[in-house]
Amino acid sequence: MHFDAANLLPILPEIAVLLTAAIVLVVDLYIDERHREVIHGLTLIGLVVAIALTGVVGGGATELVFAGNVVRDPLADLLKGAILVVSLLVFIYARPWLRDRGMLVGEFYMLGLFSILGMLVMVAANSFVTVYLGLELLALSLYALVAFDRDSSRGAEAAMKYFVLGALGSGMLLYGISMVYGATGSVEFGAVAEALATQGMENKVLVFGLVFMVIGIGFKFGAVPFHMWLPDVYEGAPTPVVLLLGSAPKIAAFGLAIRLLVDGLGSLQADWQGMLLILAVLSIGLGNVVAIAQRNIKRMLAYSTISHVGFIFLGLLAGTEQGYAAAMFYTITYAVMATGAFGILIILSRKGFDAERIEDLKGLNERDSWYAAMMALVMFSMAGVPPLVGFMGKLLVLEAVVRIGFVWLAVVAVIFSIIGAFYYLRVVRYIYFDKPEEDAPALASSGGVRVAMSLNGLALLALGVFPATLLALCQSVFGA
């Protein structure tokens, strides 16, 4: 294959992340214990550079590179930007936790950066092979990260579960891909779509392939009934890792779904609509109901994630430009919310203590009213109360669903979001209405964390009050 250097231009952000990972790996070897924080700085610089590069090479017409395997289009630009920004926050929040436990080591950053690289590859994929490559890079890094606290038996158990179920999901996806490849004779999305357009839907193999792919996507998103791994992993993994795997990968999973279902199998929309519908209703229902029973806030947030995934699917299944744009808006804003929520949990943790029970948030308003306000913003936003952005996301998704005539589906979704409001309110209740535990120490907060958390929380408010810009961006991606 002839190699053209121009191919590298659109993937500069990926290259930046890869280089950072490599540099971190090498520097970590030669640096002594006291200067470990240099790695942290390097990682942040690398991510900022990647964000800048995304902006520089982004925009303009769609470019296909590497023989049509990688694409740079508005969708990839926006998703990459969102993934990188969210990841930046993740590393800022994670630092104090890692430092306190002597875990601020190169491996965490290296694995984290590789997982980010995987996500970037996923959202920029234009063929089944590239998608799978990115997905596995992401997944393998995350498996290792979940077991990162090697002395924790819970962490090891979670990693094992995650690995087995994740591998199953990947296997399903791969199996589906192979069937579609067999039916269409191509792995490149454009060619697949073309083949489908000409040969029609007669081929049963295609529908089988589609089923397996939807299952694979369901696994990666954590949609019911493929959600089993999610609560256990969230509970068992170290909080910074949950922060990492609960935020940006959702954006990547959204990219995966769009690339596979819309770019690749867009003409099978009528088939996958029904499948996503079932996943969506089950996820919204089960996620919201089971979350009520959780006492562990990480598990609660896991079920809350499941319910939000249901909402994302609602937007996807609409199969319209508005629906995709709404789902994208929802996914990006959800990632910001999730980052904020886990960020607060990290802030509440300290050496030898991890905030895991909902009661650990007791009296946060008295301990630190600013962080309390930020967490309240996150919770109200997740519950979908205006003027926070969670409401706007729900509004857009519901609009997309009503537009295709599924009013009943919108009604089902809102009924479960009322149920959902209860457990978010319970968190707010502990923050504001209860007194802190006697021995609760003041919250230590290094400057960077406080600034990041403030930006994070206020972004939810700002995006809720002025959603127009982000929404217009999402809509322009899908040409609506």
């Binding site: 009213s369 109360v385 519901l398 919108a410 009604v411 707010v428 209740r429 504001y432 959603p467």
Partner: protein, 525 residues
């Protein structure tokens, strides 16, 4: 033509004030209190501009503003007031001042957050009354829940967590269906403008479903029997200021919703289901009246009395449809709606004042039980006088504002059905019974115990609060004409709207409302 964005100012001034108070923190409690009071007074003074600049001769939206908010989604930041919403905005701005003053001494736990919550809520409530875009309305409508949730939960009584979560979930439950209805209407009308919704032709099935969705939202907010159960809990547990805002303004938002959404958007469904609302209203008036009689807790008693009085409001609104089907007397219909509106405004003042009165007692004795009092007038003569006065107003004594609205509603009901009117009129007896019996047990009689004997009469702030409200109640009772004048054109326009059939041509046969000739001889603006 450049027009000063007065409504924007009224919405954002208190919100900015709230943020300022919040930022001032608890280092200096008096700074935050004075800042809060300053912003509350400033907002009220600015709101008077609405009153004087208002043209009562037109039913069009005045002080209108319209800026694109989410252009790709046809959502506008559209504001405007008519004769229905304008008095409610002034009521909101007025009441907030007393809430701030009432919390002056009593709130010692995080006073800045307390004051800030009320200021932010004031701005949001004014937003609800002035929004002309459905999404904007919904955002304000729901945003209101957050500060109230915090107010009840943080500064409330012993059972506050239960009460506030119940309050939040109930109201949230009601309103999400409204959201679905609004989105549906968006696709029918092609915009989120509430005025476009009014003009929209809709089939009977769609109207009925939309009406039910709205009913869930507004009935919970009003609250109507049988979804009223959150109110006594919320009232009892809320701090005095929270109770005042709940009773004086939040309940009115439900009533306002009926006028702005349910009736004009789905007039045919409203006409078809008016019997349901009228029945629920009459049950509220009679049954809840008896329930109030049995209360041992003063706040609960006033809360139930609020439900009964709000029953009157919804009765006045929906009696319109019964009158139209009975006779051709359009004036009676207008009177019903106007009576309901006057009742809303007047109940805002009276219930606010009653909760302030209970607050005065509670701050001293820390009990709301009627049985813990007795002979209060012996130690607190001034307070006794005010309390008796407001109780009389609550039971509809002629000469107070409480009488005007009730009288108009009963009069209008007579035009529809004698027996309904008779039932409605029992409120005059029931309200007198439960309010005055409470007064008898709390205020009169011999001094009941040492605590009562040690009571001190009103201080300066409390006297100011109660006398200001007393003056307004008296003024409205003696001379309600200016208020009626302001709302008259808008109400006439509304009655024309809601008595005109909106069914599409193929369903004309189902029209019970006139079509297309307007009923009252009012020219469409």
């Amino acid at each position: 033509m450049y027009q000063f964005p007065l409504l924007t100012l009224l919405i954002w001034l208190p919100i900015v004030g709230g943020i300022a108070v919040l930022a001032s923190g608890d280092r200096s409690a008096s700074t935050s209190k004075w800042t809060a009071l300053g912003f509350a007074v400033l907002t009220f003074v600015s709101s008077l501009w609405l009153w004087f600049g208002f043209d009562p001769g037109t039913a069009e939206m005045q002080f209108a503003e319209r800026v694109a908010w989410i252009p790709t989604f046809d959502v506008y930041y559209a504001l405007g007031v008519d004769g229905i919403s304008m008095p409610l905005i002034i009521l909101t701005a007025f009441i907030t001042i007393f809430v701030v003053i009432a919390g002056w001494e009593v709130i010692s736990y995080k006073p800045s957050q307390y004051m800030a919550a009320f200021l932010i809520m004031e701005g949001v409530m004014i937003g609800v009354f002035s929004a002309l875009d459905a999404v904007l309305f919904y955002v304000f409508w729901e945003a209101m829940l957050i500060p109230m949730f915090i107010i009840i939960g943080v500064w409330g009584g012993p059972n506050r967590v239960y009460a506030t979560i119940k309050f939040f979930i109930y109201t949230f439950f009601g309103s999400v269906f409204m959201l679905v209805a609004l989105i549906y209407l968006y696709f029918q009308a092609g915009s989120f403008s509430i005025l476009d919704f009014h003009a929209l032709e809709l089939g009977m099935t769609a109207q009925t479903l939309i009406f039910i969705a709205f009913l869930l939202a507004f009935a919970v907010k009003v609250p109507m029997f049988p979804v009223h159960t959150w109110l006594p809990d919320a009232h009892v547990e809320a701090p005095t200021g929270g109770s005042v805002i709940l009773a004086a303004i939040m309940l009115k938002i439900g009533g306002y919703g009926f006028l702005r959404f349910s009736m004009p958007i789905a007039p045919d469904a409203s006409a078809a289901l008016a019997w349901l609302i009228i029945a629920m209203s009459l049950i509220a008036v009679v049954y809840i009246g008896f329930v109030a009689l049995a209360q041992r807790d003063m706040k609960k008693l006033i809360a139930y009395s609020s439900i009964a009085h709000m029953g009157f409001v919804t009765l006045g609104f929906f009696i319109v449809f019964a009158i139209v089907q009975n006779s051709t007397a359009g004036a009676g219909a207008v009177m019903g709606v106007e009576g309901g509106l006057v009742q809303m405004i007047s109940h805002g003042f009276i219930s606010g004042a009653l909760f302030l009165c209970v607050g005065v007692l509670y701050d001293r004795v820390h009990s709301r039980e009627i049985a813990d009092y007795g002979g209060v007038v012996n130690t607190m003569p001034w307070f006794g006088a005010f309390f008796v006065y407001f109780a009389m107003a609550n039971s509809g004594l002629p000469g107070t504002s409480g009488f005007v609205g009730e009288f108009m509603v009963i009069l209008a009901t007579f035009r529809a059905n004698f027996w309904w009117a008779l039932l409605a009129a029992t409120t005059l007896i029931l309200a007198a019974a439960y309010t005055l019996w409470m007064i008898k047990r709390v205020v009169f009689g011999p001094v009941a115990n040492d605590k009562v004997a040690a009571l001190k009469d009103l201080d300066r702030r409390e006297t100011f609060n109660l006398s200001a409200l007393a003056a307004v109640v008296l003024a409205l009772g003696l001379w309600p004409a200016p208020l009626l004048e302001v709302m008259h054109t808008s109400v006439e326009h509304l009655v024309t709207q809601v008595t005109t059939c909106k069914l599409p041509a193929e369903e004309v046969g189902a029209c019970v409302l006139s079509r297309p000739e307007p009923l009252a001889a009012v020219a469409q603006p």
